[in-house]
């Protein structure tokens, strides 16, 4: 019997550019970005979906790229922190993080910013969180992002420097 195939050709559309590589099936989207495509914006903190440093947008939704197998995401549209700015014009969240000092060492920041982009879109579509009152709605109506909503919805992004107060302020600024 032939040895089983343990690599496959995978196409990832990253920040609008298609990349095709032959990848070992064990390769995560995070490792594909960092080790194979030279995009080191998404960070590896825990490698177990516990810290959020690797958060990117996959087909428009935020996800922990450290637990996504690249082969299972063949054909996906991925946006990393490198893809948010428009030339020299920072994305409003990037500008707000600078303005509000939403970081100290900066390691968690790309994940925080990508997560916030996804989170704002989710709330904009009316997706509830654990702290959204059940009576809220009707469905599809944006959920207002109070500081409590921001904290709950961003709880998958840890910051070892404890810059949370300014992170919440930066996100709050953009959503007001």
């Amino acid at each position: 019997m032939a040895a089983p195939q343990t690599t496959s050709p995978v196409t990832l559309h990253v920040n609008g550019v298609a990349h095709r590589r032959e990848l070992d099936h064990r390769t995560t989207v995070l490792d594909a970005l960092r080790e194979h495509l030279g995009l080191t914006g998404a960070k590896k903190g825990c490698d177990h979906a516990q810290c959020g440093a690797c958060t990117v947008l996959v087909d428009g939704r935020r996800a922990n790229s450290c637990l996504l197998l690249a082969v299972a995401h063949d054909g996906a549209e991925i946006t990393t922190v490198e893809g948010l700015a428009d030339g020299d014009d920072l994305h409003p969240l990037q500008a707000a993080f600078l303005e509000h000092d939403g970081f100290q060492c900066g390691y968690c920041t790309p994940g925080q910013i990508c997560s916030a982009v996804g989170m704002i879109a989710e709330a904009g579509e009316g997706a509830p969180s654990h702290v959204t009152p059940l009576a809220a709605g009707p469905p599809g109506v944006p959920v207002p992002l109070s500081p409590d909503e921001i904290r709950e919805r961003m709880s998958g992004n840890l910051c070892r420097c404890g810059a949370y107060v300014n992170i919440v302020a930066a996100i709050g600024d953009v959503t007001r």
Binding site: L67, A72, S115, E125, S155, G156
Partner: protein, 333 residues
């Protein structure tokens, strides 16, 4: 991680056939638990059959007034679905009480049901563990077990099932639709997960190469439902104890009640003793406490987790009292 083959099936039967032909293989949903366990060396499938793109991603109304939730529906889509939110609030709240926004975007309904315990020893291949290596022993019984079971555990294993979603599904009388090489069958959610007994390596009744197709909810119970979770942090932590309940009060008495506990056992714990005590009883905090205590009388806490019994009792009283007092805002927090 060991190298593995990968295939993406085009249809349900193709997925089942691919796995049936490859005994060392596993289905891949969102991968948020399986890929994690593969990195830890706890799981080492020779083949992954990716089922995340199968056409199992719809939530449909059923003729009996219930819902059919496809196994591939993402946790975030389940929680946000208007019919789930309006008619099964306990389910929406339970899903939103679990994991993080990112993980819920990736995790699937089928994968959530089949996620494995968070017992530290299970996740550490350097340690013995009867669930991972049958017969190797259970260090948790004398070791770190603060987060583990107080009900229904065995000499072989004291692990808990970590899913929040499954606790709400247990209270709501959900049924799991399965298809395997031998055909289709349905299993009530309450019988889907097992107690450890002397086979702790088996979490559920799922047979090899059986695929979860969907979870079916019957028409919502009369009255209201809610889910509440106690944990070490206010967000992004597994349950120490949790409660899902549905309550129908008529003229001050309990007309109907469904109650399930999470975080206490190897499976979602449907509290039939408490339900029996409560039917017909006055809808008061005293009755709720009495019923919870009757259920939890069976608890056999370990050295460091006796606090869970009291915690679960108090949670049950809070949730039932909240459901009995209409008009109160419930967010699940």
């Amino acid at each position: 991680m060991k190298a593995f083959a990968y295939t993406r099936a085009d249809d349900v039967d193709g997925a089942i056939a691919a796995l049936a032909a490859s005994p060392g293989g596993m289905f891949l949903g969102g991968g948020t638990n399986l890929v994690d366990l593969m990195k830890l060396g706890v799981a080492s499938p020779g083949l992954l059959v990716d089922v995340s793109r199968l056409p199992l991603t719809e939530i449909e109304e059923t003729p009996d007034g219930g819902l059919r939730i496809g196994a591939g529906v993402r946790n975030s889509d389940l929680a946000a679905h208007p019919a789930v939110r309006a008619r099964y609030p306990a389910l929406s709240q339970a899903v939103l009480a679990g994991a993080s926004g990112q993980i819920r975007n990736t995790a699937t309904t089928g994968g959530n049901l089949l996620q494995r315990t968070r017992c530290l020893y299970f996740q550490d291949v350097g340690k013995p563990c009867n669930k991972r290596v049958p017969g190797s022993g259970c260090p948790a019984r004398e070791g770190v077990h603060r987060d583990l079971a107080v009900l229904g555990h065995s000499a072989q294993c004291v692990a808990t099932h970590p899913s929040d979603m499954a606790v709400a599904l247990a209270a709501l009388d959900a049924v799991v639709e399965l298809r395997g090489p031998g055909g289709e069958r349905t299993v009530p959610l309450c019988d889907f997960h097992r107690l450890p007994g002397d086979e702790p390596e088996r979490d559920t009744v799922v047979e090899p190469a059986e695929l979860v197709l969907a979870v079916r909810l019957p028409a919502p119970p009369a009255g209201r439902s809610a889910y509440r979770k106690a944990r070490d942090r206010s967000s992004y932590a597994f349950a120490l104890a949790s409660v899902a309940a549905a309550l129908d009060v008529r003229a001050g008495r309990v007309a109907d009640v469904r109650l399930a506990f999470g975080g206490l056992a190897h499976k979602p714990w449907r509290a039939r003793v408490a339900e029996g005590t409560l039917r017909g009883a006055p809808a008061t905090e005293e009755s709720f406490a009495e019923a919870a205590e009757a259920e939890l009388a069976a608890a056999e806490p370990l050295r460091d987790n006796a606090f869970k019994v009291r915690l679960a009792r108090n949670l049950a009283v809070r949730v039932l009292a909240g459901l009995a007092a209409p008009g109160e805002e419930e967010t699940g927090s």
